[in-house]
Structure formats: structure tokens, C-alpha cells
Amino acid sequence: MLQIHCPYCRTERPESEFRYGGEAHISRPVEPAAVSDAEWADFLYMRSNPKGIHAERWRHIHGCGRFFNSVRHTVSDRILATYKPDEPRPDPKALSRGDR
């Protein structure tokens, strides 16, 4: 079970307190009617699904209830950083286990 640091509660809690929210930094087209079917499909369905560094959303469903983002390595499952949604995505090269 992952141990996840909630950037709002500023505490590390077990994964069972959280709900996974899928890939982060996917923004809904501002004018859905103006985009092509292919662009709409890309927004709805296409995912980067990397074997490596992955930015993803989590929600502290049994805690503060808020959404936040994390950067995790999908082979080791190690969480390298968690950050609030309005904060910029951390540079993967600068991350290490002790950085948060």
C-alpha cells in the first residue's frame, strides 16, 4: 500500500484514505464544439501511460476531500513529489525521495 503525502493536510497517510484520479494536467478544451473529433478523442481517451515518471491526480477522499497531484515512478511506484493543483509540475530531474 502506498504512503501518500497530502499537501493540504501536510501529513503522510495510507493509500486507502485516497482515491486515484487518473493522469494529471489534462485540460478540457475551452470550446468543445470547436475542436475536431480527433482532438476530442485525445482529451477523453488517449493517455500517456508512461513506464517511468507519471504525473497523476489523487483525492484525499477520507481526509480533507481535496484534489492534488503527485509525481510517481510507475515501475518502482515510488512517489517523488505531491503538490497542489495550482502549483507547477515539478521538474522530474530535480526530484528525489527526500525532496517533499
Binding site: M1, L2, E15, Y20, M46, R47, K51, R72, T74
Partner: protein
Amino acid sequence: MRFSLLSLARNALSGNKRWPAQWRAPEPKAEYDAIIVGGGGHGLGTAYYLAREHGLRNVAVVEKGWLGGGNTGRNTTIIRSNYLWEESEAIYELSVKLWETLSDELNYNVMYSPRGVMMLAHTVHDIQVFKRHVHANRLAGIDNEWLSAEEAQAFCPPLNISPTLRYPVLGAALQRRGGTARHDAVAWGYARGASALGVDIIENCEVTAIRRSASGAVEAVETTRGVIKTKKVGVVAAGHTSVLMGMAGVRMPLESYPLQALVSEPIKPVMPCVVMSNTVHAYISQSDKGELVIGAGTDAYTSYSQTGGLHVSAHTLDAICDLFPTFRRLRMLRNWGGIVDVTPDRSPIIGLTPVPGLFVNCGWGTGGFKATPGSAYVFAATVARGVPHPIAAPFALERFTTGRLIDEAAAAAVAH
């Protein structure tokens, strides 16, 4: 060589030390007419049908590890065809029909055992959904029948149908032609059959890049054993499909998750069939070695770790202990994870891609083993002819752009 009573007797007398290798281990050639990436059941089957049905014999299967070492060797081997939609019924029923004669066709015992697959209903909603499936399947000529809780227990005596369970068994849908097969034998049987027809099977050969010409078409794959030229590449790489397709610049509607399974210590025959429960999340059958084979769920998050969290398999064991109280004192011998590639509509993707010469067969999610023969059969036709086989056509990648999804979320037994 062919297996026969005579060959078995002769080799028994010589201590089983003179069996020849069942497939060749050639060095990769400089060029092939087609390369299949992924040496699991689906990939090896594709190569077999390319050679057998389409006369395409200058074919290689490249596998980064060993044959059947991915999800083919990690799943719980359940076979059934009682899916809801006509498109799914067509491909899964083709598979069941091929399973029925596969051992004969390959001259290799894949141990297909139609012992019956029983899916338990625990809520009113389950009953309604399963009855809808039963009716849809029977309209399509596929066997599936509704059982009361008492009939379910008569079919599977260790099942606990006590009304005091937290999620009591209210009934079940039973497909009698469903069952299991021996996972390794499926990979080995197809490998042996393909190799005998001239297909080169190249293990320990990881694809590191897919080369495209100036026109965009596939022209070669770069591997850890050198560059191999080809005009057709079929990617059949399950959980690693997004990574491979990324090498050709194609984004996929896939997410990869670890799916877990575990086996108990071996005991005498006690489970006569396969039992699955969507609602409490448990899958169980017994292998011929006597181990109870138990399927657990996926982790909540995407991962390539091939392990998965312990709480996920513990959750399934909770459900097993409730449904089968006699199994409570059994010890579990091993647990493991396989990386499954899940699509948004829980149906596979089979067919052409935006890159000329690049074909893909993926997205089987948590239930690909049952489809191995049918998937390989229609994918081979698609690769050979360059147009989708009629059964594969609805599963094209374009459906995510056109919106014609095949929403099998209710039919897949894993609670997504």
C-alpha cells in the same frame, strides 16, 4: 515430430531424456515479411495462423523475455463467451469454438477443460444484469443459464449460500461450455506449431525502436539483437503496448494496471468448476495440480510493477473465505501481478493504426486469456490482408474517435 501413444511409450522407456526441442531457437534474419512483437499466447497464435491460414511463413515473433512469461503465464485461465454485445459474443464465441479443437489441431494438449463457469449474483441489480446476459447470449446461440442459489450449490458443493452472509448468493449465471486451459501449454503449443511451419521465434529480444520511412510507413524494428527489416509489424504486447506504440509516435487509449492472482497449497479435488463473483470480487478454480487458483483485483493506480498492493489480494481472500468457509485454513503458496492494458470501454483494440504497416492487438484488460485463439485468428487475417477481419472490424482503434464504443464494463467480471 508428432506426439502419439507410440512416441509417449518410447520416451517413457528411455526415461523421458530424448525429447527433442519443441521449437527452433534461430538467430534473427536481416528481414522478415512480418514481425510480431510479443511472445505470449496472442502473439504466438497470430504467427501460427499467419503461417497456417495465410501462407505467410517468413515471419518472426520477437519476445523480450521468455515465451508466455507475461500475462499468458500470470492469469487465472478462465474461458467463457457469455458477453453482452454482439461484437463481443462473436469474437469470444469464435475463441471457445477454437478452444474445443485446439489440442487436436496443434497435436499438443492445451488441457482445455469445459468444467463450467458460474458467475454469482449477490444483489437485485446483479440478478437483473445476469438475466439480461443470459437472454442476450441465448438469442446469439451461446449457452448461458440462470440458476437459483440452491442449484448453484448443487453444481458447486463447497459454495456457501447461507442467507446470513454479508452478500448472500441469490443465484448464478452458468456457462457450461466455459472452463479453463493450461496457460503454458497454449504458448508452447502455438510456438511449436508456428516453428514447424517456418516461423522464427526469437526470445530475449527486446524491441527498442520502430523505424519509419520518409513516407511514414514501418521499415524496421531495432532490437537488443540488432536491426531487423520488415514492412509489417504487429504489436501484441499487452501491458507494454503504450510504450511500444509510443516508439512509432502513436498515442493509445490505454492505461496499464497490475492485476494480481495467487495460488494455494495443492489439495485433493474440491472445486468442480470455476466460480466468479463480480460484486464481492473473487475468482476461484482448481488446477489439475490441486492448487486453488484465485484471481484478485487491480490496483487503483497505473503501474508497471508486476506486483501490486497486498491489500488488494487480501480483499479477495476475505471474499473467498466468506463464500467457501472450508478453504479458510488453506495457506497461499504464491502471489504475483501481471500488467494489464485497460481501454475506456473494456473491449480490446484489434486492427490497423495511423502508421502504414503497423498493426495492433491490445486492450484485453483483465480477461484476455479466454480470447487467445480467436484474437490470434482474426488478427492474423488482419495483418495478412491489410484490412480488418469482419469480426475484428468493430474493435478498430477509430472507435474512440467515431464514438462507436463497445461498452462491456458490465460483462467484464472485474468490478471496474
